[in-house]
């Protein structure tokens, strides 16, 4: 489902009106399925046994892991849209990466916050400069920077193109940051490398996790499409206001 949507977004849906039509039709369905999956996922989450070592806190994992995964997927979606902006100059691609940035920041924040909550009872500290934590934190900063950049410019078309360049540069850089932070960590504190993946996951935990992951992914796409729709509406309103202003100027 997500894949086919991405394809239509770049090739078939040449005009925003068709996108709006499609969005209106599929949004209720996606929202419904998301809600059902969340209900099942949350039920399984609380029905499953607590880990004998971690106790109740293991349930944080069902929110933390999908959020962390989405924080990265959202950036990939933005990078794909950025290519759409720069290569095909498609206005929907502009809207797509602009709408995705706050979502990415939100999911990253959720991942960081739940990770921190999980870390306190497990590691005895809210935060460690572990490789993975550090690179996710950097990702969070990049999301915020991109949002700030988009807000700092008046012309939405130009803002989209310029932030697309930065998104792509950031995209090639994220693996490097990840890799270098890994290295840095092993160089300096080889003894205290903390393994986030913990014990190999049991079937008991796997099912709820999987369902929650799908639910989160659907939630992301639902929100993304809704945010894109809002952005298109916003631009239509501003275009009409400009038109009104210009027309008033002509009559005067």
């Amino acid at each position: 489902m997500p894949e086919s949507l991405a394809i239509t977004k770049f090739s078939d849906l040449a005009n925003p009106t068709r996108f709006l039509g499609l969005a209106a039709r599929i949004l209720p369905w996606m929202a419904g399925i998301t809600a059902i999956l969340f209900a099942i996922g949350l039920y399984l989450t609380f029905a499953s046994e607590g880990d004998y070592q971690q106790g109740m806190t293991v349930r944080i994992m069902y929110v933390h892991v999908p959020a962390a995964w989405l924080s990265m997927m959202c950036y990939s979606v933005m990078a794909a849209s950025a290519i759409g902006t720069l290569v095909w100059r498609h206005p929907l691609a502009d809207v797509s990466h602009k709408a995705a940035a706050p979502l990415g920041a939100a999911f990253t924040l959720i991942a960081l916050a739940t990770g921190s909550l999980w870390g306190k009872p497990m590691w005895g500290t809210w935060w460690v400069w572990d490789a993975r934590l550090t690179s996710v934190f950097v990702l969070f900063l990049m999301y915020l920077g991109l949002i700030a950049l988009n807000r700092a410019m008046d012309d939405p078309g130009k803002a989209a193109r310029v932030s697309a360049v930065l998104i792509l540069v950031g995209f090639v850089n994220i693996p490097i940051i990840k890799f270098s932070v890994d290295w840095w960590n092993t160089l300096h504190q080889p003894a205290s490398v903390i393994r986030l993946d913990g014990p190999t996951i049991d079937k008991e935990f796997l099912w709820p996790l999987l369902i929650m992951a799908i639910a989160f992914t659907l939630l992301f796409f639902t929100l993304h499409i809704a945010a894109m729709r809002n952005e298109i509406w916003r631009r239509r309103v501003s275009a009409q206001r400009r038109m009104a202003a210009r027309m008033a100027g002509k009559e005067a």
Binding site: L86, V138, L146, A152, V162, L166, L168, V169, F179
Partner: protein, 219 residues
């Protein structure tokens, strides 16, 4: 292209001493650190390479947002954009000139600051060498930010925020190589070579990204 290099170098020397301000900022930042962490010489010599590197990183960022801004203000940027030398090459040459004018003075000033930090000779040499190799990468990364800053009316600070995360790998390997030279078990070459690789990588990505941003931000 040589003409462009020479022009930018001349400007960086004549126009209000941008290089001098960078070095002064570098020294001030490093001088402030002992006030913060206390004048314990052992501690300072231990954190010295890291402090010098962070100081260099901040001062390298200081002058970067002006890289294309001055050319835009007097209209030269338009003429530079109209020529396909190609544009990526033009940007690369501007980066080199910027580094020679602003980055190299930092490298030259670093041994003095190393002495202030009570670092050993080996550590000073290693830090200087890593700065020599690493600061060009900062300039190349910053070029993307500088190209973006061209369209931002008050972009300086925002550009620093956007560029700093990208500079993390350079900082990590620059500092690890400096430490590896002093501390025994860790070998110096692997992090140093990775630093070289990162610089070369950004020598490609930086100008391409900056050229793309300049092309897309013209108005």
């Amino acid at each position: 292209m040589i003409a462009l290099l020479l022009r930018d170098l001349k400007l960086s020397v004549r126009a209000g001493g941008g290089a001098l301000i960078g070095v002064l900022f570098f020294m001030t930042v490093v001088a402030v650190i002992p006030f913060g962490v206390g004048p314990d010489l052992n501690l300072l010599s231990r954190i010295g390479p890291a402090i010098v590197w962070i100081g260099a990183l901040l001062s390298a960022l200081l002058g970067l947002d002006r890289m294309f801004q001055t050319d835009r203000e007097d209209g030269s940027l338009d003429l530079l954009l109209m020529q396909e030398h190609p544009l990526v090459l033009t940007v690369l040459v501007k980066c080199l000139a910027h580094w020679l004018g602003n980055g190299l003075p930092l490298v030259i000033a670093s041994p003095l600051l190393g002495l202030f930090m009570n670092m050993s000779e080996v550590a000073i040499g290693a830090t200087m060498l890593t700065l020599l190799v690493g600061t060009p990468a900062l300039t190349f990364i910053g070029a993307v930010g500088a190209a973006v800053a061209v369209v931002l009316p008050r972009g300086g600070l925002l550009v620093s925020i956007l560029v700093l995360p990208l500079a993390i790998p350079v900082l990590i390997f620059g500092v690890s190589a400096s430490y590896a030279a002093v501390e025994d078990p860790a070998p110096f070459m692997p992090p140093f070579l990775i630093l070289v690789a990162i610089t070369m990588f950004f020598a490609v990505i930086g100008p391409i990204g900056a050229a793309l941003a300049l092309r897309n931000s013209a108005d």
